[in-house]
């Protein structure tokens, strides 16, 4: 069963944090089609958050087609997430691991690497728009 975690310092709305965590779990294969998400009551009695926030997150996920609510049974995963074929993932991950290794060799720390990735992602998004 997926367990949600909140990052109060992230500045991201709570319902979006829940949405992101479900998507992240779908990408990683932690959640697979057919899996049940925790009920609203389970989530709120764990995190002490407003039930409407969880309902909003689940609605958003349902609207995007990732989950489906079955009355009286719960909310279930409908499809997985993640672009590209699994073989590509393996290759890209290997390349990235090599790149991270290079970064460390060059003396970059965790934060430097993250900043670099974020910058390149932002640049590539800019190119996409232009």
């Amino acid at each position: 069963m997926l367990k949600f975690r909140l990052d109060p310092s992230s500045g991201v709305a709570t319902y979006l944090q829940l949405v992101h965590q479900v998507k992240h779990a779908l990408r990683l294969g932690v959640l697979m089609p057919g899996d049940r998400l925790p009920t609203i009551k389970e989530v709120v009695s764990d995190l002490a958050i407003n039930p409407n926030t969880v309902a909003k997150a689940y609605r958003e996920l349902e609207h995007e087609g990732f989950v489906v609510g079955r009355p009286g049974m719960g909310t279930f995963v409908r499809r997985s997430l993640g672009g590209g074929a699994t073989a590509d993932h393996t290759r890209l991950r290997r390349d990235l691991a090599r790149w991270v290794h290079d970064c460390r060799e060059a003396g970059l720390d965790h934060g430097d690497i993250e900043a670099l990735v974020a910058m390149v992602l932002a640049d590539s998004a800019q190119e996409g728009i232009a």
């Binding site: 609203i40 009551k41 709120v44 009695s45 995190l47 609605r59 609207h63 719960g74 279930f76």
Partner: protein
């Protein structure tokens, strides 16, 4: 939108129980005022809260929070104005009172009673008492029924008091400072079990506190009372979306202040930080200013420091 079938309802589209549509007004005060001898504890309060909300009711000490909550619960009568709960004037009929549960600050339990005796007491006084619910909650919390209330920890006593209030099956639960005097773990535990109860029963909750951070994720409606008057009443997400912290050159601050209400104005040297009420949809397109979102706590603090400003829902908000 295809997902719109059930989304308007609580938990809609989530495969969980869907209660009747909650378009009703849970709480409505009109020009509510209360005077104790020569002093007005509450002056001219007008507000309404939709059903199904969890309301953070905040304000400094002596703002009139307890007075307001006691008026809602029908424990005292207003000097002027009126308060209605689900459309019924408070304090007139027994059925109306049965829909409201009030949990006072000093956790009204009898130390000499066992937990089981406390439940019997609650059962005896409340026609709609849900004994199964009470016992199940206490079992989940590992609170022994044969223990004397006085022998329980502060957190457990708060849980017993909350259980009794919830077992009354109220449509509106009013809690006056439920988290005061509890340690952080007990506060979190109380909020967890309160949220679980809300998920189960869909009741409306109003809880007062002066610690906003305890309520940030639990509440979806904010009411701020200051010096006996309502300063803010609105949906948390909407309030946050309608306020921005603008940082920019101090010499341009007056120009911005002329265009939109400034709640907090702090200037140091060349830089100005303005917490502004932008209203929905308006934004500042000047690249010399950077805008960032505000937290609920920042918002409340800024308003409390400026008792003369208000942010109340209006039919239309005209911004120029």
């Amino acid at each position: 939108m295809t997902a719109d079938r059930t989304v308007r309802m609580f938990g809609g589209g989530c495969g969980e129980l869907t209660p009747p549509a909650q378009s009703a007004t849970a709480l409505e005060a009109v020009r509510l005022a209360k005077r104790y001898r020569g002093t007005w504890a509450l002056r001219d309060c007008t507000l309404s809260v939709p059903a199904g909300r969890v309301v953070a009711f905040v304000g400094p000490n002596g703002a009139g929070k307890s007075t307001f909550l006691r008026l809602v619960a029908g424990l005292i009568a207003p000097t002027r104005g009126s308060v209605r709960v689900f459309g019924e004037p408070v304090g007139q009929r027994a059925e109306a009172l049965a829909r409201v549960a009030f949990l006072a600050q000093d956790k009204p339990l009898y130390d000499g009673f066992t937990v089981a005796e406390m439940l019997r007491f609650g059962h005896h006084l409340n026609p709609g008492w849900d004994d199964a619910l009470a016992r199940q909650r206490l079992a989940e919390l590992d609170i022994p029924l044969n223990r004397k209330v006085g022998k329980l920890s502060g957190g457990q006593q708060a849980q017993v008091a909350l259980t009794i209030a919830v077992a009354k099956r109220p449509d509106l639960l009013v809690m006056d400072g439920p988290l005061a005097n509890l340690d952080p773990v007990a506060r979190h535990d109380i909020m967890r079990s309160l949220m679980a109860a809300v998920a189960e029963t869909q009741m409306t909750v109003v809880l007062s506190s002066h610690v906003v951070s305890d309520l940030t994720n639990a509440c979806d409606w904010l009411m701020v009372l200051n010096r006996g008057q309502v300063q803010i009443s609105g949906e948390v997400d909407e309030l946050l979306a309608a306020h921005r912290m603008l940082s920019g050159p101090a010499e341009l601050a007056d120009e911005v202040a002329a265009r939109m209400p400034v709640i907090n104005d702090s200037r140091s040297g060349r830089q100005a930080d303005l917490l502004v009420h932008t209203g929905p949809g308006t934004s500042l397109h000047d690249p010399r200013w950077s805008a960032s979102g505000v937290s609920l706590e920042e918002l409340v603090l800024a308003y409390l420091r400026r008792p003369d400003t208000t942010s109340l829902p209006r039919p239309t908000l005209t911004t120029t």
